[in-house]
């Protein structure tokens, strides 16, 4: 079938639009299958002889296949047929360059510049050619012209940076790529090629940064580059100390205990009211049983005696019981942050103390109603409470530390607390104990402390300061030992409680 026949055919039957069909051939070129692409262009040339691409691109394919003569034929035809198309001339110049005929290529580009003055592809190609000829000044001149005239187009800017890359001026190239990113933040070359330049400079970190910036955007990258912003970031950053200051530790225990109470209260409808209701009910039960039903030991006195012992003891019992398992319960946190295990029992102690304060207030109110009004000796109530607090902290920390190592201990704790309850004279007066056992009885610090409470609240006397002094001394010694022990097990406990 001759070419004329095909032309006629194309006029008769409506052909699909040329923009679509050229994709067919361009696809092969994109895969660098030059022979296949050349075939496809040949087919298209039959149907669309008036399309510049079928000639020019065919020429390009033949150049890649090193079919110089054929390529030249196609391109010269294109130059002749499409005098208004600059690409024909440019492709021809490329062919001459490929055939190692730079002079001829230069002449063709000169012609292109005359025919198509100041057109972008011509300027770019001229710059490339000059660069090939190692004429950097001329190349830069053409490129600068292109950037000036077509500043909204990315290609001259990319070429500008690529020129520096070819000259192996990596830091210059980095600056130029930065400009590409500024102007065209979406263009991948601004990141990828800049990363190449950075790794040529040996700055791998910068290279990785640039590659990542493609994902996170130019703004992200700029946050490293702007020194003033850096300062602002530094200002906003916090460098934690290797070890917490003890004041910070106490603040943390305080905050945690306070928030635990809040959290506990939030779980109920009546919230904080329960801290009053619970001890009131508790006291009411004892009043009912011992005050009214049993009517024991002169009535009123025994109920006062019982409550002044039981209320402080309950505080002790609840605190030790709750704290005993606190380190085991805190294992999750211990594996996440570096924190002294002392934190866990101390929070328990403080938390229970918070709940105890309204109970004490109720107890004092009850005493007043019962005919034991406030008096000067109540002042001593405060040091006694503080001493008991100290004693409970020591006892809780001691038990809490033992339990992770010997888990079975936690089964013994309720019994142990019962034992102390009976040994501390909650239900009986020390006077009822034979004289020779007195020193042994008061060796139990809880018995000692309960005795002091009663002296102050019932007997209207100052407490036995020397007895309290001994308890304090014992607590101090135990406290020092415990601190030393806790320091030793700090790095071991998290592994014991897994």
């Amino acid at each position: 079938m001759s070419q004329d026949n095909i032309s006629e055919l194309s006029q008769e039957a409506a052909l699909p639009p040329s923009e679509k069909v050229v994709q067919w051939a361009l696809a092969a070129m994109a895969q660098q299958q030059w022979a296949l692409a050349a075939e496809r262009w040949a087919v298209l040339r039959q149907a669309y002889p008036e399309l510049p691409a079928v000639w020019i691109q065919a020429g390009a394919c033949c150049r890649h296949l090193e079919q110089w003569e054929t390529s030249q034929f196609f391109l010269e035809t294109a130059v002749e047929r499409f005098p208004d198309n600059p690409y024909a001339l440019l492709e021809l110049a490329t062919l001459e360059q490929a055939r190692d005929r730079p002079v001829r290529a230069g002449q063709l580009l000169e012609l292109a510049r005359q025919r198509f003055p100041n057109q972008l592809p011509v300027l770019l190609k001229s710059a490339d050619h000059a660069l090939d000829q190692s004429d950097d000044t001329v190349a830069l001149a053409y490129n600068s012209e292109a950037r000036k005239k077509y500043s909204a187009d990315v290609t001259p800017w990319v070429q500008y940076a690529n020129i520096a890359m070819r000259q192996q001026q990596w830091s210059v190239a980095l600056e130029r790529w930065s400009e590409v990113r500024q102007r065209f933040p979406q263009h991948p070359a601004g990141y990828n090629r800049a990363a190449e330049a950075a790794s040529q400079l040996g700055d791998d970190r910068k290279a990785r940064q640039l590659l990542l910036a493609r994902e996170y955007g130019q703004e992200w990258l700029e946050s490293f580059e702007k020194p003033e912003e850096d300062l602002q970031i530094l200002d906003n950053k916090i460098s934690p100390p290797t070890r917490r200051h003890w004041l910070a530790f106490i603040d943390l225990v305080w905050t945690k205990a306070r928030l635990n109470l809040k959290s506990e209260a939030n779980q109920n409808h009546l919230r904080y009211l329960w801290w009053i209701i619970d001890p009131m009910l508790y006291m009411a039960v004892f009043y009912l049983v011992f005050g009214l039903l049993l009517h024991r030991g002169g009535g009123g006195d025994f109920i006062v005696f019982l409550l002044t012992g039981l209320v402080p003891f309950q505080w002790f019992a609840k605190t030790v019981q709750q704290s005993s398992n606190s380190i085991v319960a805190g294992q999750g946190l211990m594996h996440q942050v570096r924190i002294s295990p002392l934190f866990f029992p101390l929070v328990g102690v403080l938390q229970n103390t918070g709940k105890q304060l309204p109970v004490f207030a109720l107890l004092l109110g009850f005493l007043t109603l019962y005919g034991l009004p406030p008096n000067i000796y109540w002042l001593a109530f405060i040091p006694i409470v503080l001493l008991q607090f100290f004693l409970m902290a020591i006892a809780s920390c001691f038990v809490a530390m033992l339990v992770p190592f010997v888990r079975d201990l936690s089964n013994l704790i309720p019994t142990g607390i019962q034992f102390i309850l009976f040994c501390s004279g909650v239900f009986y007066s020390p006077d009822t104990i034979p004289e020779q056992w007195h020193s042994l009885f008061f060796a139990n610090p809880m018995a000692n402390i309960l005795y002091q409470y009663r002296r102050v609240l019932m007997d209207h006397q100052w407490p036995d300061w020397s007895g309290m002094g001994w308890v304090l001394l014992g607590c101090l010694l135990a406290g020092v030992l415990l601190l030393w022990f806790y320091k030793r097990v700090e790095g071991i406990l998290p592994r014991v409680v897994v």
């Binding site: 590659l211 490293f224 916090i238 934690p240 100390p241 928030l259 959290s263 942050v337 924190i339």
Partner: protein, 225 residues
């Protein structure tokens, strides 16, 4: 017990020594007791054995390894949370923090309370975290939820809050254990971008990740446990 080989290799072709070693591990071994007691012979799982490692100032070191290879144990060792059974760890005077998301969160408490508590547990002082509450609210995109109990939060909201609290931490050495995968896609991107800033500032970072690809993208050096 598996033999643990330490393969220290550069993640990128050009190895560069970044300043002096700031933490050194010598022949470090850690084992966990699996069972045993008074009447039974103890059995142990050897999580790490004879590990030698130097961490240099300013580098980003990736830690890879299969499950149970001891990656998290290594971070806990370096953070000072646990002590090794054998060998020694020398810290040449730097601060180290393991970035824990949502450590110590209480579901009954509000976002604000949890931010304060969580921040203080991580090592902030109370005033430092209180000064940043607004930034945290904004970064975590929690709005009014910040004043609601955390139990009403979705999982994503919880981790957003956790990340926002932790992101101001700049110890000399930052330890990251799989933290770059929090929240929904939008927030993960934001969190990752923020974290990458740390990776690329002059901070020293140890990063544990299951993703070899991620390690390759962001780390100067990697070790395989």
């Amino acid at each position: 017990m598996s033999a643990i080989q330490l393969d220290v290799s550069p993640a990128s072709p050009i190895i560069k020594q970044k300043g002096e070693a700031i933490i050194s591990l010598q022949n470090v071994g850690v084992r966990y007791k699996q069972r045993g007691g008074l009447f039974q012979k103890s059995q142990y799982y050897q999580a790490l054995k004879d590990l030698n490692l130097e961490i240099y100032r300013g580098e980003t070191l990736g830690v890879v390894g299969r499950n149970g290879a001891g990656k998290s144990t290594l971070l806990k060792l370096i953070a000072g949370i646990i002590k090794p059974d054998s060998g020694s760890i020398t810290n040449h005077g730097v601060t180290v923090s393991l970035l824990a998301l949502g450590a110590g969160f209480e579901s009954e408490l509000s976002g604000v309370d949890n931010a304060i508590l969580g921040g203080m547990l991580l090592g902030y002082r109370r005033a430092q975290i209180e000064a940043r509450l607004e930034d945290i609210r904004e970064f975590a995109e929690l709005g009014d939820f910040m004043d609601q109990p955390v139990k009403t939060y979705s999982t994503g909201m919880r981790s957003r809050l956790g990340f926002a609290v932790a992101m101001y931490m700049t110890p000399d050495v930052l330890l990251l254990d799989e933290v770059l995968s929090v929240g929904d896609q939008h927030f993960r991107k934001k969190a990752e971008a923020e974290m990458m800033k740390k990776l690329h500032s002059d901070q020293t970072v140890l990063l544990v990740s299951h993703s070899e690809d991620q390690i390759k993208r962001v780390c100067d050096r990697k070790i395989a446990l």
